[in-house]
Amino acid sequence: MAEAHPVGFQWVMEAKARGAKVIHVDPRFTRTSALADTFVPLRAGSDVAFLGGIINYVLQNDLDFREYVVAYTNAATIVSDQFVDVDDLDGLFSGFDPETRTYDSSSWQYEGTEGHEGDASSGESHGGATPSDIQRDETLQHPRCVYQVLKRHYARYTPEMVQRVCGVPPEKFLEVCQAWAANSGRERTTMLVYSVGWTQHTTGVQYIRAGAILQLLLGNVGRPGGGIMPLRGHASIQGSTDIPTLFNLLPGYLPMPHHEQHETLQQWVDDMRLPGQKGFWSNAGAYGVSLLKAYWGDAATAENDYCFDHLPRLTGDHGTYQQVLDMIDGKIKGYFLLGQNPAVGSAHGKAQRLGMANLDWLVVRDLFMIESATFWQDGPEVATGEIVPEECRTEVFFLPAASYVEKEGTFTQTQRLLQWREKAVDAEGDCRSELWFVYHLGEMVRQRLAGSTEQRDRAVLDLVWDYPTHGVHAEPSAEAVLQEINGFQVADRSPLSSFTELKDDGSTVGGCWIYTGVYADGVNQAARRKPRAEQDEVAAEWGWAWPANRRLLYNRASADPQGRPWSDRKKYLWWDEDKGEWSGPDVPDFEKNKAPGYRAPDGASGVEAINGDDPFIMQSDGKGWLYAPVGLIDGPMPTHYEAAESPFRNSLYGQQGNPTRKVYEHPSNLTNPSPPEPHSDVFPFIFTTSRLTEHHTSGAMSRYVEYLAELMPAMFVEVSPELAAERRLEHLGWAHIVTARSAIEARVLVTDRMVPLRVENRVVHQVWLPYHWGQGGLTAGDSANDLLSINLDPNALIQESKVGTCDVRPGRRPTGPALLDFVEDYRRRAGVADGQHIPIVTAGSSGRVDNEHEGTEN
């Protein structure tokens, strides 16, 4: 956190000064570790085993916050007797189909509801569905209650197993367990902070789930000083998810319709709200129809299902990595890069560049001449001969972009807070905002299609595209766009104040339902800047947080079931009997006047069905989910699987890796072999990548900035003294790092901060690389992301870029075509040169390899 979010870290330092204990768990010793009370190095890719160990410790020692757990989580809920856990299936859950490598999650359901068809894929967009009548055993004794299921599931995650899998000594591990448990409960809370070190794995979503389970067990969710804090890495990456430029989502986490499941508007809406369902997703129809009204205005009517058929349909995975492989295969004609540099910033840089070299046209909009614009001219493949400029057909348009001070608009930061930026100066030359670019491109396309009678062009011509413009360049009004995002009454265009005002009858417009309220009372709430000195620590009048300006999600849980604060020390929200409302410094994430004692009438659904002590109002049972009966593709509980590339066999189960992980078997996307495949010893070391304080992502905003470039002026690799000795690496000399994709070179920093670990009773080395470099900018260097293969988490389709295997050799790498021969030789030795079929389903296989005999060739 000190490395990548230094200004956020001031609050950690402040907490520390007040006596908080700071624990840092990371494969390498960073600037965060330097200031932490306890640093725990662990093997990259083993976090579920580590967290599972803590969950086990909490459950075995009865350290959970029992009153919270019984009242606010699904611990008491009975799970179907058809559910079979991984212990009995060697690492697979019940319902697995080895042919498609997918789960039928119907056996994961709660007792009595097994008939309900499980939709394992909906987790990213909207809440999972469960029936309102569920069986519970609040004594937590029923052998199939979630609490007992969880306890059995994690029983084998002992401190000894944690040591064996993660390389963390038991004393250290117990120190973390004890500190976490001791600082949770009525009087204290513990906060869990993570970043892409968790998400960028083939089990990334389950990492977060494991953290959530732990925090729920210890009563640390919805309470001040608690929670799970994702530290996101870009100014508005939260906004880019809320108002997604993502293929499978529409604004506000509504799913992009699927051609089979969502043929009609009704099917689409019902899939989100599930008739009879409890919670705020029951209003999904209002959110969906209001979005369609925002898109197609008067053309969207009840008769034509509000132009639902104008929406494109999904048939599967259309994510950025699928796209890149499709580019290589010549299936994509045009590509827009809007402030993004995949040649350096995305996994498998070579695939990215080869894809871009096989387009009809490419539009790059950026501040600087980034690698993604110049791949045809000076990319690494030009040196190897894989891209020959005279033979590369891609037509490239470089359009300079306006910077953040040359336009106005909102960023959504990591805590869901929208902040409006005022424009400082006009952009120079041809520099323009994306708002300008998209708006005018839309105008030009609409002009070209005007008068068309093609049905496909209706969606373009019916589009509401009438934003006011200003200035010499006809810049569209960002404020007008924000007003549409907020939503308004169709009748009089009066702005809406809350998403509860949205309707499914076409009378309201709402471009992103969770952002409704940002323009409440016709005021740009995101532009509010009441100085911190003039308000309390919640600072509710600085910017605007979705939803409804609530700063702490699920804050109903900060009070006990009767509505009293759990303790004076942790007082945040409470029920004020006299006023008949929830009081406190924050906006309640709950119906303001719903009393703690409220019980839903029989047969109630939707918001009405949420009891007065159900804090988790977006969940279909109002409870925090220790066990997820629906919503996840890879299982209801986090389970340790090895990374797609690992030097070790899974110690816990025969199933080696996540059986449902997204794998692209493509000739350009080879994966280093892992046990039980042979030859994993060709790549004996583990590498992980991350950021430096001094640089940003692909370097597009830092390698071109002289004051930053000079602070970290060269690509480097950090190695332990032990590995340096073993591989004859010299401090400040060169090393090259090799995978089945490529070899890159870097300067060597030998440092005590890197340490070998003992895993599975043998020593393993980890190396660390920053991923900020490419051939452009003031400081150039090989790109760490060139080392990566494309293997994705099945839920979020995020790549596994925080762990892989590699070889490390002293000196510089070969150059030119010799580099290809060099890598090819590694592929040959690893047995993947002639294509590859990865044995993904390894549960129950007899191919378990004795660990003593592998990985020691070098």
């Binding site: 600087f368 348009f397 471009g511 602070l711």
Partner: protein, 189 residues
């Protein structure tokens, strides 16, 4: 400048007649020092902004004089950052005023070996032509069962996460209407 002023401005005179006999302070002060003031005092306006790097969302003040940015620093009023910035945030002026920033459209022809210049209007028209053509060439109207697809997979987009919400909203809106669903963002990565 009169002789008297000139003499009185002479450091040695000041050293001998003032109370700084060693000539270290008042006697040595130069006109540059005397007239010094923070350049932010001369700002025509101050824009309230937000740092463009990570997602902490630190408040920034952008000082502008004669249409030029003269300083970007932390906004002390922000309850998030309390006026502080990291090295990247502190380098924001360097970022936006960098001489390396591209200010003109550049164009690379198919099979070309050099960049060429192109005016913005022409570039926009060419891009619009290509979007319309790619969409028409790759349109998928129905699946095998006659269910609507209404899409093109001939166009893809990948956006950075320094885009504004309003920009993302328009990108999603336009490309969705075009049927171009392969719209992605750093948020996937």
């Amino acid at each position: 400048m009169g002789v008297r002023t000139w003499v009185e401005g002479w450091p040695v005179y000041r050293q001998l007649t003032g109370n700084d006999p060693l000539g270290r302070g008042t006697a040595a002060m130069s006109p540059w020092s005397e007239n010094l003031e923070p350049r932010t005092d001369k700002a025509d306006r101050v824009a309230r902004s937000v740092c463009p790097y990570c997602a902490v969302g630190c408040g920034q003040k952008v000082y502008v004089t004669d249409g030029k940015i003269t300083q970007i620093e932390g906004d002390p009023d922000s309850p998030i950052s309390r006026g502080r910035l990291c090295p990247k945030g502190s380098a924001s002026k360097n970022l936006v005023t960098s001489a390396l920033r591209q200010k003109q459209v550049l164009y690379r022809k198919p099979y070309g070996t050099e960049w060429e210049s192109l005016d913005l209007e022409t570039a926009m028209e060419m891009i619009a032509d290509r979007v319309v053509a790619a969409r028409a060439d790759t349109w998928e109207d129905r699946d095998d069962h006659g269910r609507p697809l209404h899409r093109t997979r001939g166009i893809a987009s990948l956006g950075g996460a320094t885009l504004d919400n309003e920009e993302n909203y328009l990108i999603k809106k336009l490309f969705t209407a075009l049927g171009a669903l392969q719209i992605e963002n750093q948020a996937r990565i």
